[in-house]
Amino acid sequence: MPRMMYPLDDTIAAIASAQSGAARGIVRMSGSHVVDCLRRCFVPDDYVTLSEIRIPTAIRGTVRLPAPLGALACELMLWPTSQSYTRQPSAELHTMGSAPLLEAMLATVCAAGARLAEPGEFTLRAFLAGRLDLTQAEAVLGVIDAHNQRELDVALSQLAGGLAGPLDLIRNQLLDLLAHLEAGLDFVEEDIEFISAAQLQSQLDAASSAVRRTAEQMIGRSETPDAWRVALVGWPNVGKSSLLNALAGETAALVSPAAGTTRDYLRRRVAWKNFHVELIDTAGIELAANDPVSSSAQAMTSEQWRLSHLVLLCLDASRPQNPWEEQQLSLAARGAASLCNLSAVPVPVIIVRTKADLVAVTNDLGEPIAVSSITGAGLDELKQSIQSVLTERYADMSVVAGTAARCRESLRLAATSLEHAQQAASLRLGEELIAADVRTALDEIGKVAGQIYTDDVLDRIFSRFCIGK
């Protein structure tokens, strides 16, 4: 059991954004005295009385940091009532993503009456407030020591969110199977064959491989890859292959001025110092290019996004954007929640303007990065940007991996139990032994997806069979 001996009512605060490199920094607070605390350290730009706010509200203002730092502009998101993640008055102070500034802000908030949160304490509160359901509970307990809220959010979306569906399906199938087995054991005098040996074997096989598949999927999701997969996505002939070669520093892809030269996936491993990246150039768009906004083109794109950790959306700087490119840009701008990768994380996108040598473009902060594969202009900036985006977005992979290890262990044990059951079934060892293994498997899956009780099994039996004399 995690440590949980903290009071649950006092006001806690913590830095809730990645420690370094992020553009925005957040200090999060929760507890009954959030507003009192803010009144002592936050000055709204406009005239508002914090204690009179009753609904979630965003307010611009400043936090007075100790000299020499002075007033720091920030945006306050205030949840004054229980309508928050933790079901307590909560707040977030959003400001620049600078570690020293954030630490100073945290110190100020604490001086105003908040307590430094223990690792995982926000999630614990949310958990205890019933904001997380049973499926998520185990994931939460597993990551209770995670360092900040965002890591936890990611962990949850990856583990509970992403796996709840398949696990629930497996759990349901196993419950059905168990119900049939148990019916055969408890209701011997019924003239019903509840499940045939062949059915039993095939259902066990199906369940066993489903569990194993999910476990593997989880490995794919949760482990820091040995190389980051970066996909180059763009309209034919925008210069993706040239860019790949330029980034890789050698001629790898067959390059031709004619559109559609790249007919297949092309991968290139590169190491920038100790940073390993797998650059993926694809022919996907080309294949569907006849109808740029067709569903097949979309499906192709989604697939590429799904398989990568980062997408470089390449636009030809020497010509105006076409409708497909406009669409991609707007998706990227919206955070493209629908375009999630294997980690169930919205894929970060870097917009790259290629062929910069053909037009006069300069690199301004926050603008798409302009590169020239011919002159090498902008390449270093792009490499920098790729590294910082990946580091930031996937900083919490290690925490997630820890949780995943627990879930994976459960799935592994479930798979082992099901293998036992398969063996027992093939040796015709007796349904009570098979049932024991299926039960163990269900218990293990239950640790991730919610426990079962006999009542659940009996309900299934009675709803399907005419039992009883």
Partner: protein, 611 residues
């Protein structure tokens, strides 16, 4: 009321009701040395089988063996009087083997009555209890006795209530309603009133029973015979051999004509006309339920079971019904073998009061009234075996309480009886509770063949079990140890015989060819050795699970813990914890609707005190 000289009797333990729960309760309390009175409205219906004339069956048979291992009467009584014995689930593994016997209804009753009459410290008395007497001491209600019809009063510091289906009971046959808990008998109102007055939640269940036929009028040639086992196995560990002649049962079935008849008359069935509102058991549906819910089945099995050696009455297992008499008559005219059968008693449904068992502590004492214990159908269970098991535990704990000893609470990994009572007090019931092997998560350990090894030592410790049983077990254990050692020490094909035996395809018979002395090992010993070896992998895994669960069960919750102190607890969780008052965190985690978060919060509070 005019003052009269009231007769007052003094006892240690009073048991109200002499059914399967009451008799075991009285016998066990008396065995522990408590001066006990067993009060019944009718001394001729002691241990009456109100429904089917059978003892045991899947999971229930295991319970009877456990009762016997703890010194209960049920096993010996059925061994002495049963008319057909079968070991069900023989084709499956030993954990599934379940003894079942067809009973001689009258013979069984007589036998239990005799056992009760011969017990020391025990008085069987015909009395109708009209009220429960309580007294408040230090803000806590204590039971002090009962008042009976005719102005007498029984005083005792412990009372075990086992009123079966007799509380505010109504029987239904079609449109006809009769007050009463069993055909031909009355109902008990005074106790119902007392329970309401004492603040118990009282709810209603229904159950049903089929018609009984005169066997002389059945044409068995149209049915299929179901004989007893050739080598019948006794229920009691004390019975060496069953000697009585075995009678067969017979199997017939319903058909589409019967189903059509039922469908046409559904509006006259109390369950469907709305006359009965309460819910019945799903595993024991009435024939009208079967026809409605499983319309695709063209026939349902019926078992024709003799009710005894000295009667021709036959119980028709499988057509429990509350349809009107004329429909019941017409139904049988369409059933093979029963076309000309005379109905001796019509089937009926009975509605009765029960007290949801989450009002009990795990030792079956009620939470509202100190010293008052409930057992049997009053707790929302069905079945003679389930009732007897609760009776034995309630009677034992009443006597232990008077001694000032710790209560005897069996764990889920120790006995079906432990599973039964834990389910009742922790999860309560929403249909009449019957035991299934699937309710026991440690089923492979809770076998009928090792009930004595699991429970007799526990029974001996509190004084439930006599010397004969203990000596038998000691001999058996010594022999098991000796034979196991021989198997470990003897090698064949480069492995020990024990290792050899662990292979699924190797039988005990194969071993005797390698080590001839094994041939004379008594079966009850060789069986134990064989099962221990064959199941060892599974048992080891189950034991691991038991260990894991034990950690939670070590965390005890103080008896008067105030759940309102945990301000963050969900309202539902607070309500359930406060009502059920789990004794350990383990029990708390099994309450329905309780989430891991609730348990974590409770744990946090118990450990940290600061939450």
């Amino acid at each position: 009321m005019k003052s009269m000289a009231t007769v007052i009797y003094h006892y240690d333990v009073l048991v109200v009701g002499a059914g399967h729960a009451g008799t075991e309760a009285a016998l066990s309390a008396a065995r522990l040395g408590a001066k006990t009175a067993l009060l019944t409205t009718n001394c001729d219906t002691v241990a009456q089988m109100s429904c089917n004339p059978a003892i045991g069956g899947v999971a229930k048979g295991q319970i009877v063996r456990e009762l016997d291992a703890l010194g209960g009467a049920m096993g010996q009584a059925i061994d002495a009087t049963g008319i057909q014995f079968r070991l069900l689930n023989r084709s499956k593994g030993p954990a599934m083997h379940s003894p079942r016997a067809q009973a001689d209804k009258k013979g069984y009753q007589q036998e239990v009555k005799r056992i009760v009459e011969e017990a020391d410290n025990l008085v069987l008395r015909q009395e109708t209890v009209e009220d429960l007497l309580t007294e408040e001491r230090g803000g806590v209600l204590h039971i002090i006795g009962v008042a009976v019809r005719g102005g007498a009063v029984y005083h005792a510091p412990a009372v075990v209530l086992t009123t079966g289906t007799f509380l505010a009971a109504i029987m239904h046959t079609g449109e006809a309603k009769t007050p009463g808990g069993r055909a031909g008998e009355g109902t008990t109102h005074g106790i119902s009133g007392a329970l309401h007055r004492l603040g118990f939640r009282v709810e209603r269940f229904k159950t049903g029973t089929p018609a009984r036929l005169n066997g002389r009028t059945i044409d068995y040639s149209q049915t299929q015979i179901q004989p007893g086992d050739d080598d019948p196995q006794p229920f009691s560990f004390l019975t060496e051999r069953l000697t009585g002649e075995q009678l067969p049962c017979w199997i017939t079935h319903t058909n589409e004509k019967v189903h059509a008849l039922i469908r046409e008359n559904l509006h006259r069935a109390p369950m469907y006309s709305g006359q009965i509102q309460s819910s019945g058991p799903r595993y024991c549906p009435s024939i009208e339920d079967k026809v409605v819910r499983f319309a695709e089945k063209s026939q349902h099995q019926l078992f024709l079971e003799p009710e005894g050696r000295h009667t021709r009455e036959v119980y028709v297992n499988g057509v429990s019904t509350s349809l009107p008499r004329d429909v019941q008559d017409a139904m049988f005219r369409e059933i093979p073998g029963c076309q000309h059968a005379q109905i001796m008693r019509y089937g009926y449904a009975v509605e009765y009061d029960y007290c949801p068992p989450d009002q009990l502590h795990p030792w079956l004492e009620t939470k509202p009234v100190r010293g008052l214990f409930f057992a049997g159908q009053l707790n929302g269970t069905t079945g003679y075996e389930e009732a007897a098991a609760q009776g034995l535990m309630a009677g034992t704990n009443a006597a232990l309480m008077l001694r000032g000893d710790e209560p005897l609470v069996l764990r889920r990994d120790q006995a079906y009886i432990g599973v039964l009572i834990d389910d009742l007090v922790t999860r309560s019931v929403d249909e009449p509770y019957r035991m299934f092997t699937s309710r026991a998560e440690y089923r492979l350990m809770l076998r009928q063949d090792n009930a004595d090894r699991r429970l007799t030592p526990l029974g001996a410790k509190v004084g439930l079990v006599g010397l004969r049983r203990q000596a038998l077990l000691a001999t058996k254990e010594a022999e098991i140890a000796r034979v196991t050692e021989r198997l470990e020490a003897t090698r064949a094909d480069g492995v020990s015989l024990a290792r050899l035996l662990s292979r699924p395809e190797v039988t005990w018979q194969d071993l005797t060819e390698r080590l001839p002395e094994l041939a004379i090992v008594p079966r009850e010993v060789s069986q134990q050795v064989e099962y221990d070896v064959k199941y060892s992998g599974y048992i080891a895994r189950q034991e691991l699970q038991v260990e894991r669960q034990k950690r939670l069960s070590m965390k005890r919750i103080p008896p008067h813990f105030d759940y309102t102190l945990i301000v963050h607890l969900r309202v539902e969780a607070r309500e359930k914890f406060s009502r059920i008052r789990p004794v350990t965190l383990d029990q708390a985690s099994r309450i329905s609707g309780i989430t891991p978060a609730d348990v974590a919060l409770l744990l946090a509070h118990l450990e940290g005190k600061g939450v």
